[in-house]
């Protein structure tokens, strides 16, 4: 499916870790918006097609974590916390995508120190 291909490419096609954070935010902020659209589009599929239903959640969690990770690596701890606070939006993450929220809690703790 084309949609899946595109989303997979997005994961693979990130800036370099040492690129300025503005480059990262410009890209990932828009992606985040697109993930929201994908999540909303497949809202009704939670019973019939689990995989499709979680597609958006999974990638959204991944990209928010990635951005937070890069912000932390570049020493921008405040930004890291801010990204984690603001960009999720969906507090009810599914059980199977929990691994990523747990990871984000870890970054959160690291930045808060």
């Amino acid at each position: 499916m084309d949609l899946k291909d595109i989303l997979e490419t997005w994961r693979l096609r990130t800036p370099n870790e040492w690129d300025e954070l503005t480059v990262w935010t410009d890209l990932l902020q828009w992606r985040n918006h697109m993930y929201d659209i994908v999540i909303n589009a497949f809202k009704g599929f939670s019973e019939t097609n689990q995989q499709l239903h979680q597609l958006g959640y999974r990638d959204k969690a991944w990209s928010v974590n990635k951005l937070a990770f890069v912000a932390r690596r570049q020493g921008l701890y405040e930004v890291c916390v801010k990204v984690l606070n603001n960009m999720y939006g969906f507090l009810t993450m599914d059980v199977q995508v929990w691994r990523d929220p747990i990871l984000s809690m870890f970054y959160f703790a690291l930045s808060a120190h």
Binding site: L3, T22, D26, L27, W30, M34, I37, V79, V83
Partner: protein
Amino acid sequence: MCLWEEQWLACSHRLNQWEVLVDFGRSVENYDILLDTLWKVSEWQNLKDTVLPKAQVEESPKFRMVQAYAALNENSLSSVNEADMRVGQGVEMALHQWWQLPEMAVQSHIPLLEQFQQLVELQESARVLLEIGNGNKAPSQGSGQLVGVQVALHCNFCYVLETCASFQALASYPHSCKPKKLYTDCRVQQGHMWT
């Protein structure tokens, strides 16, 4: 704008303080700043109604991108087509700027490469929206053909830019672990490929 103001703007930019930037942009009516920040705080209505029609900024790929963002946000078939058109114009402008750069690939090429990536992802976003729309309703014959053409075009373009992206990745790779000479060799060869 005075120096310290510019420094402050760059600083807030880096710290992701979009709300502050929006407020500042409003108070001094700087449309450049507003165009850059409004979509990040999801003030789409504001962006579409007041800023986009009024903004008298230089035509640039960035401006086209913001127009495409706003169009895609509406999420209807006509707006997706409009976004596609804007992206096309943006690509054209970016390419125009590209060939004005010196042949030898240097630091100055990087911002444009980044813009290219954003443009490609916008195009892909349009595809995603079309796909979602198609999934919800059975496609009619006519629109099916249109989409087919768009897919073909998109694939070609995507392929080219995928290569560009890997070039960029490669370009930064020797930086860290290979001797300087190899790095320049790579860059020169890539420079040829670009032309």
